[in-house]
């Protein structure tokens, strides 16, 4: 009787040990339901980097529990549900999430991934880190959508430059024509004034008129073919 009771006790003890060992064995490197986390605190913060210690680890576990609660609403995840192991001086470790209802059962990988994706920015800001410096190996961060304005900015600058150049050309082309017309009006006025005065002036005006009608209007082309040096 005593003998079988002893056996029973041993079996119960064994089971007990096994179950607690199992709980610890859930978290190990390359666990099927776990993720590796890597923090690059010095790279992100430089001189203002904080030291990674157990308190920071507690914050991490709490933040992750929050993320799980956020995603699977109704289930009360506790800090004890987040198991951490294999910490290295790099500041990297593995973690695994267990269900609040049964501490031996890990939560599926897809749920953990979804939860982290949802609350990624909250997790990052808790540690003053970014997507690149707080890495969950295997969960690719969703990058921010590129801002694309309706009119590309380069087109605006192009329009401004093209408009001013076009205006410049029009001014350069129109100016001599306008100048010629103004001068012609002035000459006609002078012609009318002078005609009334002397007969001899007529010869001169005829010359002016002839010069003005020629195919090559000498008065308005460059008077010097040779540029001054």
């Amino acid at each position: 009787m005593l003998y079988s009771q002893g056996e029973m006790l041993e079996k119960i003890l064994l089971l007990f040990c096994l179950s607690s060992a199992l709980a610890e064995n859930l978290c190990r490197p390359d666990a099927s339901n776990g993720y590796k986390v890597r923090l690059s605190i010095k790279r992100a913060l430089g001189d203002e980097a904080y030291v990674w210690n157990q308190d920071e680890m507690f914050l991490f576990r709490a933040t992750l529990a929050f993320a799980m609660r956020n995603h699977l609403s109704g289930q009360d995840f506790q800090v004890s549900n987040i198991l951490v192991c294999d910490e290295t001086p790099r500041v990297s470790f593995w973690f695994i999430v267990t269900s609040p209802l049964d501490a031996t059962r890990p939560v599926g990988k897809e749920d953990v991934e979804e939860a982290i994706r949802k609350s990624r920015s909250r997790i990052n800001s808790a540690f003053l880190l970014t997507d690149q410096t707080l890495e969950f190996i295997g969960i690719i961060p969703t990058l921010a959508a590129p801002v694309s304005p309706d009119t590309p900015p380069w087109l605006i600058v192009f329009g401004v430059v093209m408009g001013s150049v076009g205006a410049g050309i029009i001014v350069l082309l129109v100016y001599p024509v306008v100048h010629k017309r103004l001068k012609k009006d002035e000459e006609e006025e002078e012609l009318e004034e002078e005609e009334g005065e002397e007969e001899t002036r007529r010869v001169k005006t005829m010359e002016n008129g002839a010069a003005g009608d020629g195919a090559h209007n000498l008065s308005f082309t460059d008077d010097e073919r040779f540029t001054q040096m």
Partner: protein, 549 residues
């Protein structure tokens, strides 16, 4: 090269232009009727140059307009459609290369595949031609005023860049690299050919633009002094600009080297889970050795991910073609503080220089053509406008997806060989056919004194010999080189691949080379035939008159 070739030839061309007061075709016809073809060859070469050079200005405009953004578009890769990471092509290449090849050019994988015109490029090319027209619309007088600005502004920018460049981190590596002579390169005759053609390009010899500009001078203008001063300033500027270029180059190489080291450091940290501040940039190599000895198997797994970081390789890496100015420099600029400002300054400077060159090229075409009676009846505005529109329409071909490869053909083969040939013929013509004595008298007529013995020796002996030597080397190199190749951008690999030109490409190259050179013998033949016909005609008249008498 400058003193043996550059200055004497510069002097020669200015003298011819000033004496004859005609564009290149008229001037050479006046020297010797059989050699009017030299002028024609110059015009053809200038025409090719006009066609493809404004594309560079179009690119400069494109980059300039894209500099007005908070993040320069070539600083980061665009994100792919899943929003999981950068676009594949951009990841394999660098963001600056991606921006140049994909967004600026939208380049095809090879010269055989044609595509549509790139709208943005076409707009920029239009703008470039419109501005060129604006500068030349009133003729040489307006060109002269414009050049005051386009020639001085680049110096100001270069000075600003010099100060900025020297104070950049790692610039001294570049300058040291520039001044250490590389003996292998110096022994290679290719280097000397490139030096000679660079002098020609830089001074504008052989294009006819010098003759065109000099034809507008007063007869007694002292061009001897100007020739020397301009050539020296030109080369001085080149050296000054190289210092700036190499300091920025050194900065870029150092930044790339350091980011390579940084990536290696992170890789080591992550693989071996070492605390962050144990490895820093200075002892990366020591750690590599240490880890290799302590964890050999784990290290071996790393091997394909580990990059070779070498400053020398970074400094020696170069990109082929005109893309160098855009890829290498935009990479350097994106790393500087306040990159938008530096980018705007740099591309404005490139634009000034490019526009200034275009003015010379277009004038080199317009001036000789206006000497013909047919064209001189048109108003100068209309004629200039027609030339610009013609070049614009042909230039649109360079904005297609395979346009950059055609551009490379023009760039490599359009001018170099013809320039050598034209300049050689010029020197021989003036020294031997026109006669050195007649030339001396002309100069004495214009300047008041004869050129001294240095010039005479250069023109008659040294320059022709040197040019013949270079010419022969070039031909030998072309024959020995096998099929000509070009760098085609491979989308999948994200890098340029050396590809051979297809048959039509090689034919086109041959056509380019032959078309400008053949002007000389063809014109000579044409004049010879005309003269013979005229001679026969005179003889017939003579016999008729004797009979009638």
């Amino acid at each position: 090269m400058l003193f043996l070739e550059g200055v004497p030839l510069f002097y020669l061309e200015l003298a011819i232009g000033q004496k004859m007061s005609l564009g290149s075709i008229g001037a050479w016809t006046a020297i010797s009727p059989y050699l009017g073809g030299v002028g024609l060859a110059s015009v053809v070469t200038s025409l090719y140059l006009c066609l493809y050079y404004n594309i560079i200005n179009a690119w400069s405009f494109w980059y300039l307009f894209h500099s007005f953004q908070s993040v320069l578009p070539w600083a980061e890769c665009p994100i792919n459609s899943n929003r999981t990471g950068p676009t594949e092509e951009c990841e394999k290449a660098t963001p600056t290369q991606y921006f140049f090849y994909r967004e600026t050019l939208n380049i095809a994988p090879s010269i055989e595949e044609n595509g549509g015109i790139h709208g943005g490029q076409a707009l920029c090319l239009l703008l470039a031609w419109v501005i060129t027209y604006l500068f030349i619309v009133r003729g040489v007088k307006s060109t002269g005023k414009v050049v005051y600005f386009t020639a001085t502004f680049p110096y100001a920018v270069l000075l600003i860049y010099l100060v900025r460049g020297i104070t950049l981190h790692g610039a001294i590596n570049g300058v040291k690299f520039m001044f250490t002579p590389n003996m292998e390169h110096l022994a290679d005759p290719n280097t000397w050919i490139n030096a000679a053609t660079q002098i020609f390009f830089s001074l504008g010899l052989g294009f006819g633009s010098l003759i065109a500009f000099a034809s507008y001078n007063h007869y007694n203008n002292n061009f001897e002094r100007q020739a020397i001063v301009v050539s020296l300033i030109n080369s001085g500027t080149s050296i000054f600009a190289s210092i700036v270029t190499f300091s920025i180059y050194g900065f870029k190489a150092t930044v790339n080297y350091e980011s390579c080291l940084e990536r290696t450091r992170v890789l080591l940290l992550n693989t071996f889970n070492i605390a962050e501040d144990n490895i820093n940039i200075d002892n990366v190599f020591e750690w590599i050795e240490k880890l290799n000895t302590t964890y050999p198997e784990q290290f071996a797994k790393l091997n394909n991910k580990l990059e070779e970081c070498d400053l020398e390789t970074e400094l020696s890496s170069a990109v082929e073609g005109a893309g160098l100015a855009f890829i290498v420099y935009s990479e350097a600029i994106k790393n500087m503080p306040l990159p938008q400002l530096w980018s705007v300054l740099y591309f404005l400077m490139l634009l000034m220089l490019g526009m200034g060159s275009m003015l010379g090229n277009v004038t080199a075409i317009i001036t000789p053509l206006r000497d013909f009676k047919v064209m001189s009846h048109m108003s100068s505005e209309l004629f200039n406008g027609l030339v610009c529109v013609f070049c614009l329409l042909l230039g649109l071909g360079f904005t297609t997806t395979s346009g950059n490869y055609w551009f490379t053909i023009f760039n490599d083969y359009g001018a170099t060989f013809s320039l050598l040939f034209i300049v050689l013929i010029e020197v021989i013509t003036v020294s031997y056919i026109y006669g050195l004595k007649r030339f001396e008298k002309d100069i004495e007529d214009m300047l008041g004194h004869r050129p001294n013995w240095y010039w005479k020796i250069m023109w008659s002996i040294t320059s022709p010999l040197l040019l013949i030597f270079l010419f022969i080397i070039y031909i030998v190199k072309y024959i020995n080189g096998g099929t000509p190749t070009y760098q085609a951008w491979n989308k999948e690999l994200g890098t340029s691949v050396v590809t051979e030109y297809p048959v039509f490409g090689q034919l086109f190259i041959g056509l380019l080379l032959v078309s400008s050179i053949s002007c000389v013998p063809l014109t000579a033949l044409y004049v010879f035939c005309k003269k013979r016909k005229l001679g026969n005609h005179e003889k017939r008249e003579h016999t008729v008159s004797t009979v009638s008498a």
